[in-house]
């Protein structure tokens, strides 16, 4: 049920519409948003082979950092039929996706989307995935977590700066609309799939503040208006992201694709905002040296295109000397050519009525994600210094992983129900 829209601020209303989803949310949202969403291409075959090539079509901030689309939906899809999917199913899926490409400009102002497939999906086939694809089953990635392991066949990620575009595209692929953004829709994902779950979220200045009336955030409304994420700091600096090239699979039938890890993390920010002071928050999010020098102003916009963690020092050394180690400082250890090996496209959420993060990361191999997560666990730091396994160990104290899932994001040409050999229709 939609809340009565009267008296609700426009932005808060749009956000809650995506969280609610469905036709009635869309209808109300379109009335409110009244956005002029740019249309797509006549010939989708002209679009990039990499589904995840978003950076060229995203907005940039003054420092040149790519700004993620503001509204997101993650649709979990299970195939209706057992065994290997049929050619008909494949055609419907491809038609539905092409409809979106004709309906919306491929940008944050239009619609960005990807479709990806789980290890469970590939078990439908006799053949195994090639060695060029590293896609293990999801598993807990620390001794302290006990996540539910997501295994839908496929995952559709929809993203746009316009809540109405996300909702409308979702309705279209569910077969509930004849047109999307004024363009005729053919085929539907629901010709082949059923929706197993739906998750949603947001990222960008103002949205976390607008959505802070939720469990996990204290009642004092501590999330500032300029914060792009609930924890109050910017995190998607250009230099703290892998390049799209680095996360792209280089060879084999899925060359041009990537792997995707999606976890859901509950945030418990009462201690973060009501007990820790700002200096502690900076020390834990970045590093103690940043707290000492006052390097971070506000949400960290002043840092430009890099969190500037080079001078933070070795985490084990800092942990031993200071008893606390920063989140960014720990992750600094997993770098190649000065850049991380994962590309984060994470966003916050109120799913389940609780503040959370859908932590979506792209990387060439799931192993890249796992070693990044290992660096965040920092068992070497907690094992050799007074830093605890959660306490004073970056931001681990405030995070609780509830779900994990691994997916293969095939290149565009084999995105519709691919076989393990990468064959499309």
């Amino acid at each position: 049920m939609l809340p009565d829209s009267r008296g609700v601020s426009r932005r808060a209303f749009l956000k809650s519409a995506v969280a609610i989803g469905g036709a009635s949310a869309l209808a109300a949202c379109m009335d409110r948003e009244d956005a002029d969403v740019p249309g797509g291409v006549d010939d989708p075959a002209t679009l990039p082979e990499r589904q995840h090539a978003w950076n060229d079509v995203l907005s940039r901030d003054d420092a040149g950092n790519a700004l993620p689309p503001r509204h997101h939906a993650l649709v979990h899809l299970d195939l209706d039929a057992d065994g290997a999917p049929s050619g008909d199913a494949r055609e419907s899926v491809e038609a539905a996706l092409r409809s979106l490409e004709r309906a919306y400009e491929r940008s944050n102002d239009g619609l960005l989307f990807t479709i990806s497939y789980s290890p469970a999906y590939f078990e439908r086939f006799d053949a195994a995935l090639p060695e060029s694809v590293d896609l293990p089953e999801p598993e807990p990635l620390s001794a302290l977590e006990d996540p539910a392991l997501d295994e839908p066949d496929a995952l559709l990620h929809l993203a746009s700066d316009h809540a109405s575009a996300v909702l409308e595209a979702e309705e279209a692929v569910h077969g509930n609309r004849d047109t999307a953004n004024g363009v005729d829709v053919t085929g539907a994902l629901t010709d082949a799939f059923s929706v197993a779950d739906r998750r949603s979220g947001f990222v960008g200045e103002g949205l976390p503040a607008d959505n802070q009336d939720t469990d996990g955030v204290p009642d004092s409304e501590p999330v500032s208006e300029d914060a792009p994420l609930y924890m109050g700091f910017k995190s998607d600096f250009e230099k703290s992201q892998a390049t799209e090239d680095r996360v792209t699979i280089q060879s084999g039938p899925f060359a041009g694709g990537a792997t995707q890890h999606v976890s859901h993390i509950d945030l418990n920010l009462t201690q973060w905002y009501e007990q820790d002071d700002r200096e502690s928050r900076v020390a834990q999010m970045f590093c103690p040296a940043h707290a000492d020098s006052g390097a971070v102003e506000g949400s960290g916009e002043n840092l430009g295109d890099s969190p500037q963690l080079d001078d933070c020092g070795d985490p084990v050394e800092t942990g031993g000397e200071r008893g606390v180690v920063g989140h960014g400082q720990k992750l600094q250890r997993v770098r190649e050519d000065g850049r991380p090996v994962i590309l984060r496209r994470d966003f916050d959420s109120t799913d389940g009525g609780h503040a959370g993060v859908h932590f979506l990361a792209l990387q060439r191999e799931i192993a890249d994600f796992e070693r990044t997560r290992e660096a965040m666990n920092a068992t070497d730091v907690s094992g050799q210094t007074p830093v605890g396994r959660t306490q004073n160990n970056g931001i681990r104290q405030y995070l609780s992983v509830t779900h994990r899932g691994n997916y293969l994001l095939p290149p565009r040409s084999s995105r519709a129900l691919p076989t393990p050999e990468g064959d499309d229709a």
């Binding site: 201690q271 200096e279 031993g320 008893g323 210094t385 007074p386 605890g388 959660t390 306490q391």
Partner: protein, 354 residues
């Protein structure tokens, strides 16, 4: 004689409050953060007697294999987070309902277990579930435990699940499995009953003076106590006072599985609070050790658990000669949150030569 209750304290504080600030009706209703006596003036940079002593209620005690867990609660109160050498005072918020405390110890040895990872999930009478990850804390009554002020919600019965991931601290003896364990409790949240808990307002001439209130008779407090120097289970090299803490350093040919080689000696440094002898966990210690007329060790002391020594910091030193001297340094103060009376101590540690 029956101990005075918190209700009696609040009533007294209320009448004083009204007399002192007429027109401030409703003061206690809206400013629950003030429902504690003020901090003593001129707190010393040492362990001191706090402004008051609180009663507490035990929700239960459970054992699962090698691990034991107790859940207790009392009214919310101020405490101090510790990061590096700084404290960060946490005041009671209006919405805080209780101070929840979890104690975890080795059921076989009785030794308290610092460094566990603890999560408390509570489900209230309205069916709403929330969770809290408590801080590792030190209090004069409880010793080492995990606690936080918590906003519960409506009064009534709460189901509480405490999930403990045991620490991976080095052990001198056999190491039990460190798989996560869950303990189920229930507690009744009743504001009126909380106000009936014992509450002793310590007189002005005693509060703030060097000293400590006695530990309570509870497994967590007993399990937090290091053995006295005069009955230390291994040969004592020396004792010292540093940073307001007591240090007892002992040596042994071997200790359990450690220093089992012929040319090895185990050196154990037990850092504990004065008065109550509570172990001080999550510090960083290093030492130089001399034997046979030369320095045989210069390095870090690793946190370790031992059935008799309890939590201590130790090193395997490569010598079979008698240890003649040691200098112990506390490089990082104990990173443990503090209840009142401990927040000014254990920060500046001159090296201790023994």
């Amino acid at each position: 004689m029956r101990k005075p209750s918190r209700r009696a304290f609040l009533a007294a504080a209320g009448s004083v409050g009204l007399g002192a600030s007429a027109g401030c009706l409703g003061f206690l209703e809206t400013e629950r953060a003030t429902r504690e006596p003020p901090l003593p003036d001129d707190r010393p940079d040492a362990v001191y007697v706090p402004s008051h002593v609180e009663g507490m209620e035990m929700a239960g005690m459970r054992t699962q294999g090698r691990y034991a867990c107790a859940l207790t609660y009392t009214f919310p109160h101020r405490f101090w987070l510790v990061r590096d050498g700084d404290t960060d005072r946490v005041n009671v918020r209006g919405e805080d309902d209780v101070h929840l405390m979890v104690a975890v110890w080795d059921a076989e040895t009785g030794t308290v277990l610092p460094g566990a990872s603890v999560d408390i999930e509570h489900t209230g009478p309205d069916g709403e579930t929330a969770s809290v990850t408590p801080w590792q804390m030190l209090s004069q009554q409880m010793g080492v435990h995990y606690g936080d002020n918590v906003a519960l919600g409506g009064e009534g019965n709460y189901d509480v699940v405490v999930r403990v991931v045991p620490p991976t601290t080095r052990r001198t003896g056999d190491a039990p499995a460190a798989d996560p364990v869950e303990f189920d409790f229930s507690l009744t949240f009743d504001r009126s009953a909380l106000d009936d808990l014992a509450f002793e307002d310590i007189p002005a001439d005693r509060e703030g003076s060097r000293g400590a209130v006695d530990p309570m008779d509870a497994a967590s407090a007993r399990g937090s106590q290091a053995p006295p120097a005069d009955s230390f289970p291994i040969s004592v090299l020396g004792t010292a006072e540093t940073g307001g803490a007591q240090l007892v350093v002992g040596t042994a040919d071997r200790r359990g599985s450690l220093a089992a080689g012929d040319d090895e000696t185990y050196v154990a440094a037990s850092l504990r609070t004065p008065h109550n002898r509570f172990v001080l966990p999550s510090a960083s210690l290093s030492a130089t050790v001399d034997a046979g007329g030369e320095q045989v060790f210069d390095g870090g002391l690793v946190p370790a658990l031992d059935a008799d020594l309890g939590y201590h910091y130790g090193a395997v030193v490569p010598t079979s000669e008698a240890i003649e001297a040691a200098t112990v340094r506390v490089d990082t103060p104990p990173q443990v949150s503090r209840h009142e009376g401990y927040e000014t101590a254990f920060f500046e540690f001159p090296p201790a030569s023994l």
